[in-house]
Amino acid sequence: MIHVENLTKDYGEIKAVKGINFTVNDGEILGFLGPNGAGKSTTLRIMTTFLAPTSGTVTLDGYSIHEHPTEVRRRIGYLPELNPLYGDMVVHDLLKFVAGVRGITGKAFKSALGRVMGVCGIGEVMHRTVRELSKGYKQRVGLAMAIIHDPEILILDEPSAGLDPNQIVEIRQLIKDLGKEKTVILSSHILQEVQAVADRMIILNNGEVVADGTNAELMASFQGKAQLIMEVKNASAASIKALPQKIPDISIQGQSAHGNVRRVQLEYPTGHDLREQVFKYAVESGWTILEMSRQQAQLEDVFRSLTLMEGGRDA
């Protein structure tokens, strides 16, 4: 269990984190979502003891970052943003160094090495210099370093940044696999990524938590609108105008006409499906329906509306 309590961080004048609270349960994959400058990295850096908070605290399995930073570090595997690595070291030596600092040597190191080699697929680059590796392999090495001590908690700051689509799919699968046994916290500014791997997400904006819950919970709490696009023939302007009177929940967002064909954009609250009623009305009014398509509010919209309200700091 990780408890983050009233955490704030000021960089001089800049208030990067403004009193956030949340809990991470054992074994869950938590997505940390937010636009650039939201304070994701700052929060993760405090949780990993890289930075000290201005106020507030984090406890991890009962160990506080203030009183027992070493205990906290022992339990965490961390992949920092941009994955900084010692470029002039050989992969094997790098892993050996990190393991050694964590007290894993000799036989224990051999078996740990075997495990991370399998999990991260880095067997073939074991004796190459880090600098020469492709971005994707560097990322795997970073991940291997983070899990060499088989930590209970993994903190990954934008693990898929800069990877190509295939590598992104691979790394997401890897995170999912790791998440079966571990607590994983990953940050991202891409909703799909978090949606794809996380059990739960926390949306951060401007240093504040603006949403916290599963996909479904966030959707439910969001009073979004569904859109219905219709392309109809032989519809009189009057009959279109009368539609909202007949079906009160609907509003007309826009329309355009090309000769006999009209394109109408309708909107209604998500939750009750009005398509059938619209269809009946169309038939009664003698329209010929060429196209009718619904655009459901996406979690994307939730994210956008939550994070655009005040605008990202760096936007």
Partner: protein, 245 residues
């Protein structure tokens, strides 16, 4: 706590080894060593053949001058490079004490310095063969002095490297600090009387001269030891302050 101490020691050694390997992986160590040897060789041979004075003191007095450049050059990257490359974030989020990081890196710089000094030994061996009146005791105390002065300079160097994430800034900073310590004894005549004892005490030269003469006084050793301790402690503090920016 002996176990905590063992861990500290093991981590210091790991940092030491990593840092030493990285010296020799990059060109830094080779360039610094070659330049050091060329210049010391040149000083040595020119004084040896021109003045024909088989006096150790010439070389022993030249090496601290070379230190002014050599030591800032080999220490400037120790922490500054970790910061500019971002690897500091990897390093200090491992369960490792900041003290072990600083100490391991400091010892790596000292090892490189040791290698450089070992090479200068060649000059002295030449001297021993050519001349009959070489005082081995003076040779040993001379080297001890050089090692101690180097130790102080390297501690200053790593402190400056902790302050900034720019290696050039670290170099300039430590060059200036080291230079001030070095020239203090030369400007002592301009210092008002009531301060001269103090200035003399913190001047490197004053303590080095004693040791080089073969007089190993505990006062001098305390001076070197406390200077090294002071700057290493400061480096650790600065590294910890990173968190509170």
């Amino acid at each position: 706590m002996p176990e905590a101490f063992t861990i500290y020691l093991r981590q210091t050694i790991l940092i030491f080894r990593k840092e030493l390997a990285s010296y020799f992986d990059s060109a830094v160590a080779y360039i610094a060593l070659v330049v050091f040897l060329l210049i010391s060789g040149w000083f040595f041979s020119s004084s040896f053949f021109l003045i024909n004075e088989s006096d150790l003191r010439v070389l022993f007095s030249m090496i601290p001058i070379m230190y002014l450049f050599f030591i800032p050059a080999i220490t400037m990257g120790l922490l500054a490079r970790e910061k500019s490359a971002g690897t500091i974030e990897l390093l200090v989020t491992l369960p490792i004490a900041d003290g072990a990081v600083v100490l391991g890196k400091y010892l790596a710089a000292m090892a490189l310095l040791g290698v450089a000094l070992l090479f200068t030994l060649l000059h002295f061996i030449t001297l021993v063969f050519v001349s009959s009146n070489v005082d081995v005791g003076a040779l040993l105390s001379g080297y001890l002095g050089l090692l101690l002065v180097g130790g102080v300079y390297a501690a200053i160097g790593i402190f400056c490297s902790a302050i900034t994430d720019n290696q050039i800034t670290a170099f300039i900073g430590s060059f200036m600090l080291v230079f001030i310590l070095f020239v203090l004894s030369k400007v002592i005549i301009f210092v008002p009387g009531f301060m001269s004892a103090f200035v003399q005490y913190i001047s490197i030269d004053f303590h080095l001269t004693n040791i080089s003469r073969g007089v190993i006084d505990s006062r001098n050793l305390v001076y070197f030891g406390s200077m090294i301790f002071l700057f290493l402690t400061l480096a650790v503090r600065v590294l910890e302050m990173r968190k509170w920016r």
